[in-house]
Amino acid sequence: MIRLSMLQLRAQAIIAAAALIAFAILLAATGPHLASLYAASGLDGCKPASCGQRASSFLQLANSTSPYAAVNTLSILVIALTPALTGLFWGAPLLARELETGTFALAWSQSVTRTRWLAVKLAVGGLAAMAVTEALSLLFAWWAAPLGRAAGLGGSGNLGTSQFNPLAFVTHGITPLGYAAFAFTLGVTAGALIRRTVPAMAVTLAIFAAVQIAMPLWIRPNLFPASHTTVPIAFSDTTLNLYTTSRHTFTYSLATDDGLPGQPEAWIRSSGAANAAGHPVSTAVPSACLPAARSSGPGPALANCLTSRGIRIAVTYQPVSRYWPLQGTETSICLLLSLALAGYCFRRLSRLS
């Protein structure tokens, strides 16, 4: 039965292997040079506190040197789309095509119970989808390691995205395994319910996309309680916007730009003006600071004045130490959903044909 599953997956497996090899060649051809750029920038052995500037200039150099920015974007897209593609082209047809073409009657009249038939097909297809996605992710992690190290040193730039960035989070670590398993079993389930390949593929895509949007927006931020802190207004690392509400009154907004001091990799959920105790304060510019606001706008003078009034920036965030717990929890959610869907497919199986 394992051999049959592999035979039936042959065409898809060839496409996946070809894509994997092409991807590996692309990364292998460009990765070593990126690493040598990193070595040349003298970031090895740096301390996060002292190397932010140099890390940023490395990231800018990498961004402006062809083809790193393009390879980076392409890789993230490929890894983020692979679970969806395997769900669509491996998962959805698994039952739907058999039901659509009537070949289920051939498959299920061999000397193998249909429960075992499905178990093997789910295992082979699901594990293959997980392996392909994770292989892509690991290759890219190797390629992008210098960029990640520079970001960890406090460097900023287009290529120094936070590891909590929604696209970065689902393309690194173990989440690709979870999403690959979920998309695959989602496809199989849609096929079992709809019994036609193309509509099953469409439904799979719609639901998977919805989950991938809902996860970073509503689910991931709430998996663990957020941490709170307040930081002083450091004008260089702070966004200070000033709004005129009438001729005599102004409001302002505050946010940290470059993460938390000392925790450049933390995942910032929100930030705003607060008093020293961390309680939000009115965003109306205090009257003592109105002259500064009038004369120089949202400049250092206003920032200093706000600081002297005891105003700080309150930050709600997930510390970087939550990265792996979040990865683990999100992957577990995906795998549990996959198991539930697979269980439903088994229950549904006796009623199919």
Partner: protein, 298 residues
């Protein structure tokens, strides 16, 4: 005698309607049984239930003494060729044989290869590019090479041209002679069944109208014609299946336990087609539930 298929009160309901209801039958082992009936009689549902493709909504069915599809061992004992002889169109002929070998412990690879070469099929050819006849033959090869005790075929020749039909049935008969298996096949082409079957089941609206050895059925049914008369005049042990009357003439198809002795009748033998049509039209007029009631047939 062991039964190949035994059903009692068997029913299958889909979401809205019953596809088969209250079906009771017993087919002995070692027969090539033909299942005939009008469209919608429940033939396909019955065959799928027997093959273990479906589970009954009510009633029981046993195949070779076991519940259909009860496990790998039971699946191995039943070969099934579904309607339209499905095969994997993207896989080659050789891939299909590999599939059979992988999934069936009792696979007879020699038999499979021999049949493929007799049929002059190219093992490297994609099954999707085979002709209808070749496709049916490939499906039959898969079902035969697992060496089943019972082979179930659902309208295997319906879409084939006359030549391919003859070839298919010849291949089937050779295999039956060689392997000594029981066969149940459905068709609405009575001429094909006449060629291969030694047992006949007529199914109309889920009910078995008549079932038995073909030779017995042909021997016990007669077409009578003679001067018009009432059916009450028939002696005991004779049952009218269909009758038609003109002002002067009566024409009957009857089942009789013994010879027809009344000299007023001209007695003719019946063909299988006569028999099937008679039982189908009687059921159509009469409602399925009352074989004892008699009415004037068309």
């Amino acid at each position: 005698m062991n039964t190949a298929i035994q059903a009692s009160g068997l029913g299958k309901r889909y979401r809205r309607a019953w596809a088969l209801r209250d079906c009771t039958l017993a087919i002995p082992e070692g027969r090539v049984a033909g299942l005939v009936g009008p469209n919608g009689a429940g033939k396909t549902t019955l065959l799928r239930l027997a093959a273990g493709m479906l589970t009954p909504t009510c009633g029981t069915i046993t195949v070779l003494g076991q519940r259909p599809g009860a496990g790998p061992a039971q699946l191995a004992r039943v070969g099934f060729v579904a309607q339209d002889t499905p095969i994997y169109s993207r896989m080659t002929v050789a891939d299909h044989l590999r599939l059979g070998a992988w999934l069936n412990p009792s696979w007879d690879d020699h038999l499979a290869r021999q049949r493929i070469s007799q049929l002059a099929l190219n093992p490297k050819q994609r099954a999707g590019s085979l002709s209808g006849g070749q496709r049916a033959q490939l499906a039959l090869t898969l079902a035969l090479a697992k060496r089943p005790g019972l082979l179930i075929l659902d309208e295997p020749v319906a879409s084939l041209d006359p030549l391919a039909r003859r070839e298919f049935l010849r291949g089937l008969m050779e295999a039956v002679a060689g392997q000594g298996l029981s066969v149940l096949l459905s068709s609405h082409l009575v001429a094909d069944l006449e060629r291969v079957c030694d047992y006949l089941v007529v199914l109309v609206a889920s009910r078995v109208q008549v079932a038995g050895e073909v030779s017995d059925l042909l021997a016990s049914h007669h077409r009578l014609s003679g001067p018009r008369r009432d059916r009450a005049a028939l002696p005991a042990g004779q049952e009218i299946i269909t009758e038609s009357h003109t002002d002067k003439q009566s024409s009957l198809l009857i089942r009789a336990d013994g010879p027809v002795l009344d000299p007023a009748w001209a007695v003719k033998p019946v063909s299988m087609e006569d028999l099937v049509l008679a039982y189908m039209s009687r059921a159509g007029d009469d409602g399925p539930a009352s074989p004892q009631r008699l009415k004037v047939a068309s």
